[in-house]
Symmetry: D3
Amino acid sequence: MRNNNIRDVWAKGEAVVSAWLSIGNAYTAEIAGWSGYDCVLVDLQHGMTDVQTMIAMLQAISATPATPIVRVPSCDPAAIMKALDAGAFGIICPMINNAREAEAFVAATRYPPLGNRSFGPARGLLYGGADYFAHADASIVRLGMIETREGLEALDEILAIDGLDGIFVGPNDLGLAMGKGTLGDPTDEAVREAILRCLSAARAHGKHAGIFCPSSAVAARRSGEGFDFVVPNSDANLLKSALIAEATGARVSDRK
Amino acid sequence: MRNNNIRDVWAKGEAVVSAWLSIGNAYTAEIAGWSGYDCVLVDLQHGMTDVQTMIAMLQAISATPATPIVRVPSCDPAAIMKALDAGAFGIICPMINNAREAEAFVAATRYPPLGNRSFGPARGLLYGGADYFAHADASIVRLGMIETREGLEALDEILAIDGLDGIFVGPNDLGLAMGKGTLGDPTDEAVREAILRCLSAARAHGKHAGIFCPSSAVAARRSGEGFDFVVPNSDANLLKSALIAEATGARVSDRK
Amino acid sequence: MRNNNIRDVWAKGEAVVSAWLSIGNAYTAEIAGWSGYDCVLVDLQHGMTDVQTMIAMLQAISATPATPIVRVPSCDPAAIMKALDAGAFGIICPMINNAREAEAFVAATRYPPLGNRSFGPARGLLYGGADYFAHADASIVRLGMIETREGLEALDEILAIDGLDGIFVGPNDLGLAMGKGTLGDPTDEAVREAILRCLSAARAHGKHAGIFCPSSAVAARRSGEGFDFVVPNSDANLLKSALIAEATGARVSDRK
Amino acid sequence: MRNNNIRDVWAKGEAVVSAWLSIGNAYTAEIAGWSGYDCVLVDLQHGMTDVQTMIAMLQAISATPATPIVRVPSCDPAAIMKALDAGAFGIICPMINNAREAEAFVAATRYPPLGNRSFGPARGLLYGGADYFAHADASIVRLGMIETREGLEALDEILAIDGLDGIFVGPNDLGLAMGKGTLGDPTDEAVREAILRCLSAARAHGKHAGIFCPSSAVAARRSGEGFDFVVPNSDANLLKSALIAEATGARVSDRK
Amino acid sequence: MRNNNIRDVWAKGEAVVSAWLSIGNAYTAEIAGWSGYDCVLVDLQHGMTDVQTMIAMLQAISATPATPIVRVPSCDPAAIMKALDAGAFGIICPMINNAREAEAFVAATRYPPLGNRSFGPARGLLYGGADYFAHADASIVRLGMIETREGLEALDEILAIDGLDGIFVGPNDLGLAMGKGTLGDPTDEAVREAILRCLSAARAHGKHAGIFCPSSAVAARRSGEGFDFVVPNSDANLLKSALIAEATGARVSDRK
Amino acid sequence: MRNNNIRDVWAKGEAVVSAWLSIGNAYTAEIAGWSGYDCVLVDLQHGMTDVQTMIAMLQAISATPATPIVRVPSCDPAAIMKALDAGAFGIICPMINNAREAEAFVAATRYPPLGNRSFGPARGLLYGGADYFAHADASIVRLGMIETREGLEALDEILAIDGLDGIFVGPNDLGLAMGKGTLGDPTDEAVREAILRCLSAARAHGKHAGIFCPSSAVAARRSGEGFDFVVPNSDANLLKSALIAEATGARVSDRK
C-alpha cells in the first residue's frame, strides 16, 4: 500500500499543508501536486468540478509527490465510495451535525464489518497497490466539517465516533451560521472562540483538527495554535489575486 | 459588431495588457476575463489546450469585459479559420519567418477578395453580432511572432504586409534562436538589441509591437519602451508561483 | 449584483419567456441566449446533461443577454447549491409534494440564518459580481414543480412557504399523475382545471406561476391566462421538428 | 460491409438528402440520424466540433439509419484518415482548387496501391464490419468542394480524377470568391451560372454534384435541377430559427 | 418499441450473458457491444464513469446488437430516472436490503400510476422508438442486488415486490458482508450456500437470478446451476490481465 | 530530469516492451502503465484519441512506472511539439519516406540550434523536472516509421540523420505498400525480407529498430531476432479478443 503523506506528517507531530482545488482541471491539479503540499484536495462541493473531472484530477495528483484527497458534496455514501474507488486517500465531508452523520460518513469509508463500503476499488487498486483492500481502511483519512451551530454543539459526540480522524473547520460557514458574516480569518470574538473550541475538543479526543485559511500567514498561525491540517487558500483565489495583481502592475508605466 | 478592446486601447495610444492562458479550462479563462485585462489569449501552441476546450474558453471570456484572442499552434489556415469561427477577435501566429508566411497568415483571416478565409462564422456571429461579416476583417487583430533568426532578418518585409497589425516578440524563443538561452527578460546584449529592433521596425512601419514578459514589472517597463501589447506572464506560471509561495509560507510557524 | 431578468420582467407585470435546454451543449446554450428569451434553463433532470456540462452552459448563457437558470434533478440540497455556485440565478425544483419539501428547497438556496446554503459561490461571484453574497438570496428565483396528486393537494401549504417565488406546472407529469396521459397541452377537463387551480392558487398567494408548453402558441395563451413564466417547448424538440420538416421538404421535388 | 446509403440512393437515381451538423454534440447528431436523412455530416471545418467530439458523433449516428460522413477542415491527409478510421463512410473536402489537390484528397481515402491511406481502421471496423478492409475503398464516398475561382476554372481536371465521386458546391464561398457576397441561394446571375456549370460538368463526367442549401425549398429545387446530394441548412441555423420563432410567438398574447 | 434482448433470451429459457464496463469510454463500450454479449452494462457505481460519459456509452452500445443497461450508484430515484431517460433498457440497483428499498427502486422505473418515474424520455425515445412511453415499463428490466446480510434475510419480501424482475448477486460484497473475504468465486461454504439460496429463492418466486463472475468458466458453471443472467468479469479486469500477459510474454525471448 | 526507461533498457542491451493505446482514455492508460511495460504509447494516428485526451493519458501514465510516449498523426511539427510539451518522452512519427522528412521530424523535437522546437515545455517541465530544458533533447527518443516503398528504399539516408534514434516498422502498412496484404506477422517472403532489412540497416547505423507485433509470441521472436523495441498488440485488440473469448466461454454450459 502506498503511504499516505497525511498520516506520515501526523506521525511526526507536524501539521499537514494541503492545496485546495476549486478549478476542475487536471493540469492545475498536477501543478499543485508539484508545489510542495503534503496533499492536494479536489473540492467537489463548491469547486467547478464533477466526478469525471475529479477522476482525471486524482490521476494527475497521483503523478506527483502529493497525496490525493477529496471533499465530497455531501454525506452521500455513493459519492464518498466513488471518490475512494477513484483513488482518494482522504475524504473531507461537509456539514457533519451530529454523531449519526459522523457515523454514516465513517461507515461509507470502511469495508464490512466495520462499515458498509461496497467492494470495487478500481483506481484505488492501481494507485494504492495490490494490497489495497488489506490496508485501505487504515490508510484513508476522514475529517468531518464543523460548520453549523448543531455541529458545534455536538462536537464531543462527533469526535467520539470511532474511525473519524478529526474535524475540519470552515470559518466562512461557521461565521455565517453564527450570524457573524463570512470572514476567512474571523475577527468576531464568538467565532474565534468557537474555532478554538473545535481545536481543543479535537485534542481532548486525541484527534486531528484542520482549518481552511485565507492565506499562508493565517495557515502558519493556525498551525502554531495547534491545528495540524491547514489549507492556505484555494487555487482559484490564488490565481485570481495573481492575475489581478499582474494586470494592475503592468499598467503602472512611465509610458509616454 | 461588438467592439475589439485591442483596437480601442490602441486608438487611445495606450498599451494593451493581455492575459495568457496555458491552462485549458473555461473557469480559469473566465476568472482571467474579470481580472482587469483588455484581452485574454488562449494559447493553442504551448498551452495544455485543444480546439474543443478553446471553444469553451472563448465562450467563457465572452461573458467578461475582455476581448478573446488566440495563439494558433502554427501558420495553418484551417486552424486560424477555426479560431476565428469560434469567436476569436485576434490571432497571434507563431514562427513568422518571411513575407510569404506573413501574407499566408493574414490571408487566412480575411474573406475574399482580400484573403481566402472560408465562410461559416458560427460563434463569431453570436459574439460579434449580426453584422459580423461586414466588420470582421477590420476588427480582427493579427500579430505575427518574431522568434527566429530568419524572422529577425525579414522584419521589414514582414511588417510591410498589408493587413498585418504588427509583430509579437517571444523573448524565450528569440534568445534560444540566437544561441543565448531562454530568459523571459533577456540580459544578453544582442538579444536585448534584437528586441528593440523589432519595436523600432514596427514603429517605422506604423504598426504595433507586442511582447511576452515574465512579470508585470517587465511588462510595465516594456510598455514604457513603446511596446503597445504586453503580456505579464501566463496563468500557469502565476498559479504555480502562488501555490509554491503559499505552501512555503504555511510551514513557517512557531508550531510547538 | 447583476440584474435578474426574471425579476425585472415580473416587476413590469409581464410574463417571462424562458428557453429550455435538453441538449447538453454550450454552443446551443449560447444560441438560445441570443434568441430573445428572458432566461435560459439548463435541464439537469431530463436533459442529456450533467454537472460539468451545466457549468459550461451557464458560462455560455452568461455571454448573452439571457439570465441563466437550472432545473435540478431532485430536491437534493447538494445539487441545488452546486447549480447556484455555478452561477444559476434561478432554480426550478421538481416534485414538490408538500410544505416540508418546499421549505427544504428554499433553505438550500439561502444562506444562514434564513437557510442552510453553504458558502463558496465560485462562478456565482464572477457572474453576479463582488457583492454577490449581499444580494444573492434576494435575486435568486425559486419555483417548485407541481406535478403529482400530493403536490396539487398541498398547493396552499406549498405556496405559503416564505421565499418560494411560485410554482411551475409540468403538464405531462401532472396529467400522468392524474391518470390522463401525457399531453403537453392537456385536453382532459380535470387536468385543465388542475392547471388553472395552480394558477389561481399562486395568484391568491401573491406568487408566480410558470408552465411548460408544447409550442409558442400555447405559451402565448397561457400568458394570456395569467401564467407569468412560460416555456415554449425545448431545444431538442424544436430541433427535431425542424430537422424532420427540412428532410421531408427537401424530398418534395419535381426531380426526373 | 455495412451498406452506404449514399451509394444506394444514387443507384436508384435519386438525390441524397443530408443533414449538416455544426453543433458539436452526440445527442443532436443522434436526433438528426432519426429525422429522415440518408446521411448525416459532421462539419469539422466550420462546426463547433473537434476530433474527439466527432468520434462521439459518429458513434451516435451509427445508432441510427443514417450513414455518417464528415467534412474535414482542409485537405490534410492525417485529418482525412482519422475521420475514416473513426467510421466516416464519406468525406467532403473543402477548397479543392486543382487536379493535384483532388488527387491528394482521393489518395488519402484509399489504401495502397490505389492511394496512401495508412492501415488501422479502428471504429471503421466496428461500424463497417469484419470485411471493412476489402470494401472500404469502394464504399467510401468522396466529394471535393468547389468554392474558389481556381476550382471553378479547374472543374474538368478535378472531375477527371479517378476515385473522386463528384463535387460539392458551397454557394456562400463561391459567391464570395466571385465578389458577389454570401447568399445561400445566390441571385447574382454569374454565381447562378457558375453553380449550374458545376452541375453540368459533373454530369458530363458521369459524376455526382452536391450543394449546400439555405432551406428545404431550395434543396428541393436543386434536386429538381439535377443535383443529387442536397443539404437543407445546418442544425445550428435550424435551431436558431426555431428558437427565435418560438420566443417571438410566445410573447404574442392578449395578456392584460 | 425496440426489443430488449434480455427478455428475448429469457423467453427462450436461456441465460443472458452481459458485458460489464468499468472503463468510462464510448469506444470500449462499442467494442463490447460487438463482442457477442446479449447486453452491455455501464457501471456507474464502481466504474470510472459518470453520467455524461454514461450517455455517450449508451449511444455507442445502441450502435451494436447488444442491449444497453446500467448499474446505478445507489437507489436514488433521480439517478435511476436519468439512466432510463438516457436510453438504458435495464437497471441493476445495488444494496437492496428490504422490501421498501426494492419497492422504491421499482417505482422509480415505472410511470404513474404504477410508479413515480417523471416524464421526459429524451434518448429513450430515440433508441426505443416513438411508442416508447407505451412499452417502456414492460420492456425495462429491473434487478436488485443482494449483497448484505439484511438483503439475504429479506430475500423473500424483496422477491415478492411486483415489477422486480429478479436479483443480482455480488459475490465479493456478499462474502465481505458475511465476514468471509472478497472472492469472486467464493470457496467458503456459507457464502456458497447463500448464493445458491438466492438462486432458489428467485426461482421459487418465478423470478430471475443474476451473478457477477470472475471468469467465463465460472459464468458457464453458474448458468449451469440455473442463474439466467451471468457476467464473465469486467472490461477493466480483462484488459489488465491481457496487458500483463502480453508484457510478460514479450519478454520471454532467446535474445542474445 | 526524470529518467527515460527506453534509454535505460537500451543501455542494458535489452529490448524495450511498449504498450500501445488505441483507446482514448486515461484510466486504460493508467492500467497499461501498471502492467509491466517499459513505456506506454498514446496513438494519435489511428487511435480514437485527440490532443486533449492525450494530455490526460500522459498524466495518467506519468503516475505509473512506465515512460509515456506518443505516435503523432503525421510529420507535422506543431503536433510533435505539442506532444512533447505535454510530457511525451518519445515520439514515433509515421510515414518517414526520405532523409528530408526524417530531418524535419528530428528538428521538431530539438531546441535551437540543433532543431526548431519552440520553447514552452508546460507539462514537460512538471513531469521531467526543473532541469527539463537542459536534458530534454538528449532524453527524448525519436523513431521514424518505415511503412512505404519510398521509406524502404531510403533506409540508409534516413538512418543517417543525426538525432534519429532508429526506425519503427509497421508490418501492416509495409505489406500493404508492397502489395502483399495486411498481416501483422507477414508470411510473404518479400515482406519478411524487407522487415529484416530494416533491422540490419538500423544495426549497421548503430541505431534502434522497433516493430508492431500482433502478439507477445511474435514480439518475443522479434526481440530474439534483434529488434530492441517491440509492441505486443494494442489495448483495443487485446480487449476485443478477451471480451469475445469470455462471451463465448460463458455460453458453454451444461444448462438444462
